[in-house]
């Protein structure tokens, strides 16, 4: 079911004007990030600084740079739905007793995500950085969307955003950092999403729960169990399935 949903209820549809305060905020934030990034005198630091340049541009001009504009407006609804503080923002971290490359390898195979993300049914790699996602809403309602990878640095970061035409508008990133020397990994998920208005809006909101960060935290806990212990802890079978062989 590919329902085309437009973010008309939560988005004023017109280009949101960035007021003076937001622009100063963006400038200040960008300056801080660029300053910090450059001061680290390392590749990740420089990348961080470079990443903040569009923000500085937006702060100065009230608009995203043309390159970003093109990137963002190719999707239209992702950018508009998620610009600024809109939508629901979640950030959760987990520390794993596995080296970074192992964790990155597991996550970058997007088909693996439903094994520990409770609300995902299936993720299909469509090739070319694109993927198709199917999630489970309340009452068995399926929500679907396509997404594309927008940033990928091996063993460091994966970022994606949803493409127009899906039931969910979302963007997010996962960063992978070494922890406790090189024996562990600190994985951080940053997720921003905006369920569409109308019939799916409420359902999707419910699917993510009243506390979306708790949902993600539980997903990451299952990821940890899977990667460290090799299986997800279960105290009992699903109701009605535990009848045994009649010993």
């Amino acid at each position: 079911m590919h329902t085309t949903a437009y973010p008309s209820d939560f988005d004023q549809t017109s280009e949101p004007s960035v007021d003076q305060l937001q622009r100063w905020g963006a400038l200040a934030a960008a300056a801080a990030v660029i300053g910090y990034g450059v001061s680290r005198r390392s590749l990740p630091g420089l990348l961080m600084a470079a990443g903040a340049v569009p923000l500085a541009y937006r702060g100065a001009t009230g608009r995203w740079p043309a390159a970003c504009e093109a990137l963002l407006s190719s999707s239209g609804d992702t950018r508009e739905a998620l610009s600024g503080p809109r939508g629901i923002n979640v950030k959760e971290s987990v520390r794993l007793e596995c080296p970074v490359d192992e964790v990155y390898r597991f996550w970058s195979r997007l088909e693996n995500l439903p094994t520990f993300m409770k609300n995902l049914v299936v993720v299909t790699d469509l090739g070319g950085g694109r993927s198709h996602w199917v999630a489970r809403g309340p009452g068995g309602v399926r929500v679907e969307w396509d997404a594309e990878i927008i940033n990928e640095i091996q063993n460091k970061v994966l970022a994606w955003k949803s493409l127009p035409g899906g039931d969910v508008v979302s963007a997010g990133s996962v960063t992978f950092e070494p922890a406790r020397g090189d024996s562990g990994t600190q994985l951080t998920v940053t997720l921003q999403y905006q369920p569409p208005a109308g019939k799916f809006g409420k359902l999707v909101a419910q699917a993510f729960g009243s506390e979306p960060s708790q949902t993600i935290r539980e997903d990451l806990r299952r990821l940890k169990q899977l990667l460290e212990a090799g299986e997800i802890a279960k105290a009992a079978g699903a109701p009605g399935t535990s009848a045994g062989a009649g010993r």
Partner: protein
């Protein structure tokens, strides 16, 4: 199969329930040959443990024969005779790697619940409420054992069930309690509570080199066991002022370490003990830490208070000021079971200890409801109950 199930405060029933099944690759199913009632099960019986649900299978001290093994388990095979540690640990997380097995990150599916209460969750336990994972327990004919490639220890046929069963909890728990005291030559160790864990703490204090062991209780049969089996000097707290007696016995210095093997339902004769009773009965407090208060008061300066007794909530009138003033070390927590199993099996095999001394009642699983009451009320000189499910 038959199992002892919780149906509410003081309501235990032996019922027919579905057999356990392999749910994960590292699981095994054990046919339970012997299982025991633990003093901490009595906290459940008395309704002190939250998140118990009707029908939950009880029991965390059990052993038996492996009858089924998951496809991911290369260490156990059908027919192995094993003792199962009561804490469930994955063996591969940060905490398991640090030998802090009872703090395993990955075994509790309800960790979020424990996190709400304690900030972080410890490992899951068998048959000990949903906050500890909701795993069915071992007071049953069969039990599913998760992560069974790192938990259960194989035991030789030359040792009887009764000699090795208590490797499942109370022997390692008493041993860790004594180990936490960091016993030095010449040390005096005082043990509050001469229940099964207290009895093993006494024996373990000797094994670890104590010069004197003093045991405190009020039940004559328990004090008698501590004296005859444990070779401890004994104090009946209904007859003497314990703090004063300990001071006198140690030349005014106090015991070097104090073990609280009583926990959250302490009984006492002093004013603070009555205060605890009133507050808990009005649901204004969760625990009655009378024994712990006394252990802190009695301990010598710079000594250690070791707490194998279970606490569940927020303590009232806890004398942290005294602990601070005397520079005490407090050590506590669920036993890091997996760390002790080979070590203590070795001590049993070498004849250094025969844990069966603590058993007073041998019954069938059908007797569970009656035996919970007998054990709780300390009737019939009951100290330890072992049940045979088959």
């Amino acid at each position: 199969m038959k199992a002892a199930c919780y149906y509410g405060k003081e309501d235990i029933r032996v019922e027919r329930v579905p057999d356990p099944q392999i749910l994960n690759p590292r699981d095994a199913i054990v046919k339970v040959t012997s299982t025991a009632i633990c003093g901490s099960d009595l906290h459940i019986y008395d309704g002190y443990i939250p998140t118990m649900e009707r029908g939950d299978i009880l029991g965390h001290e059990f052993m038996g024969e492996v009858v089924e093994v998951g496809r991911g388990n290369e260490r156990l095979k059908v027919g192995d005779r094993v003792v199962v540690p009561f804490t469930i640990a994955c063996g591969h997380c940060f905490f398991c790697h640090k030998q802090l097995w009872s703090l395993c990150d990955n075994s509790n599916p309800n960790a979020w619940l424990a996190e709400k209460m304690a900030g972080y969750s410890g490992s899951a336990l068998f048959g000990y409420s949903h906050i500890y994972g909701g795993y069915p327990g071992g007071q049953a004919e069969y039990a599913r054992v998760p992560f069974s490639d790192v938990g259960p220890i194989k035991v030789p046929e030359s040792l009887s069930d009764e000699q090795v069963l208590f490797l499942s909890d109370i022997f390692p728990t008493g041993y860790m309690a004594a180990e936490n005291c960091d016993i030095q030559p010449g040390d005096t160790v005082a043990v509050w509570g001469c229940g099964p864990v207290g009895q093993f703490a006494i024996k373990s204090a000797w094994l670890l080199g104590a010069e004197r062991v003093i045991a405190i209780d009020r039940f004559p049969e328990r004090l008698a066991m501590a004296h005859s089996q444990g070779k401890a000097e004994v104090l009946n707290y209904e007859e003497v002022d314990v703090t004063e007696a300990l001071r006198a016995m140690t030349g005014g210095q106090g015991p070097d370490s104090c073990i609280d093997a009583v926990g959250l339902e302490a009984h006492g004769t002093t004013l603070d003990a009555w205060y605890d009773r009133v507050k808990t009965s009005l649901y204004m407090a969760t625990d009655r830490p009378h024994a712990l208060r006394q252990a802190i008061a009695a301990c010598r300066k710079g000594g250690t208070v070791s707490i194998p007794g279970v606490y569940g909530g927020w303590l009232d009138k806890f004398p942290l000021g005294a602990a601070f003033a005397k520079g005490l070390t407090l050590k506590m927590g669920q036993t890091h079971m997996h760390r002790y199993l080979p070590l203590l099996l070795g001590r049993i095999e070498r004849g250094e200890i025969d844990p069966s001394f603590v058993i007073t009642h041998r019954v069938s699983l059908d007797d569970a409801p009656e035996m919970y009451r007998t054990f709780r009320d300390k009737q019939d000189d009951c100290i330890k109950v072992v049940m045979k499910p088959h």
